[in-house]
Amino acid sequence: MPPRLLRGDSANFMPDEIMRAPRSELPITIEDVSVQSGSVTILESVSLMLAPGAPTVLIGPNGSGKSSLLRLAMGLLSPTAGRVMWGGRTSSGGDRRAIVFQRPVMLRRSVAANIAFALRGRRAQQRDRAGRVAALLDLVGLAALAARPARRLSGGEQQRVALARALARDPEILFLDEPTANLDPAATKAVEDIIVQVASAGVKIVLATHDLGEARRLAGEIVFMVRGRVHERTPAKSFFAGPATEEAQAFLKGDLVI
């Protein structure tokens, strides 16, 4: 179920929004997918199913293919081999998926206008927008900065604007690509609190990180990747208690895994 808190005032719902049953994006099934760029293998024979449930956290060293896997599942990257299906369909044109990039780009307008723009992409009714923008600003704790130029915010605040923009799509599944990289602890906590809140409202979270602390705090399950391949997929507790592969053990110990 989509999180009600993201919808704004329920009195502003349009009947057609209530009546229309959007096609589910889940599960996302990745079947034996490889992605090549020239002679470089980005993803190799990856198979994975992303179903509703606790957050899935992709971990692994830089260049292991975490961001590419997120883009693939989002439909922004096409496989060279294999296939991806969203709710049983191979069309990548769904609108209930959203992504927050590692370095989100703020449009050259105010914080509120950035979120309103994302709502336009969702084809939200004009009269609903103000209420939904206000609800999203409250959710990410930026109501006081609504009129500020988004590009002038701090890195942590920009990440929260990006989260609000992504949530404006009312997603079933939210991909987060290293959302707290380069943020200080306070900003990291603010972003993680929102992620926890969104996940508890029923949105499937798929997050890429190489921050093991963040993975411990947020993950329901771990997907461990090295060199474009999925090496291990296990519940988070099992993974941190005793990873199955040598690479994962080395990674947890802090050894260099290349």
Binding site: M106, L107, S110, R120, P149
Partner: protein
């Protein structure tokens, strides 16, 4: 020195001939720039976003047309608008409307080519976000033009500057008719050849002052806008 003083008198004294010429010139150049912007901005944005066979060739031609010789444009427009030309039935030759059209043709490639470059650079920055947000082609064009508005202001100024300073095209299609199609540039050329330097100098001073004032106002607006929008 005496010509300069006389020119100053014409400006300060509110000479009706001089100010009628200035008014017509501004009207023609502003209208031509707006017309060129109405076509050049979306064309430039589409060229930046849409991939199609021959796009590189179109871009090269557009860039080359930024340096279109005004007299050649004037000649082409003359042939189109003359009584025996394909658009002769409109009866526009030797009217301000013909001058606006001709200047718009001259300015449009400048606006389109500079817009293409500006929007393409911004699109590289925005592509992932807009694709992820599911923004359609029309929404992308509108959003990119809006977010690039401060850079595009400079583009429009370049177009306006080209139109305001141009003489060959308006001379050919306007005919430099006294009180009807005489602009600052054509009047300066005529008065200089006649030896009436005060009017020519006065118009020259006004022309340069206007261009500086418009640029200064646009720069101030751009700075304020950037402060506001980020």
């Amino acid at each position: 020195m005496q010509d300069g003083a006389s020119a100053f008198d014409l400006i300060v004294g509110g000479d009706p001939v001089l100010y009628a010429i200035i008014a017509l010139s501004l009207m023609v150049s502003v209208c031509a720039t707006l017309l060129a912007a109405a076509t050049g901005l979306p064309l430039g944005a589409l060229l930046a976003l849409v991939r199609f066979p021959g796009r590189a060739a179109v871009t090269i031609v557009l860039n080359a047309f930024m340096g279109l010789p005004p007299v050649v444009v004037g000649l082409a427009m003359y042939l189109l608008l003359s009584r025996s030309g394909p658009l002769g039935f409109l009866g526009l030759l030797f009217t301000p409307h013909a001058m606006i059209l001709a200047q718009a043709v001259l300015v449009m490639p400048i606006i389109a080519a500079l817009t293409r470059q500006t929007v393409e650079d911004l699109w590289v920055e925005y592509r992932d976000e807009m694709t992820a947000m599911g923004i359609g082609p029309a929404g992308r064009v509108a959003a990119l033009l809006w977010d690039a508005r401060f850079s595009l202001m400079t583009t429009l100024l370049a177009g306006f500057g080209r139109a305001a300073a141009e003489v060959g095209t308006v001379m050919i299609v306007g005919g430099n008719i006294d009180g009807f199609t005489r602009t600052m540039t054509t009047a300066i050329a005529l008065e200089t050849s006649k030896g009436d330097l005060p009017l020519a100098i006065g118009l020259g001073i006004v022309l340069i002052t206007l261009i500086i004032a418009v640029n200064a106002a646009a720069a101030a607006a751009r700075r304020l806008g950037e402060l506001h929008a980020g």
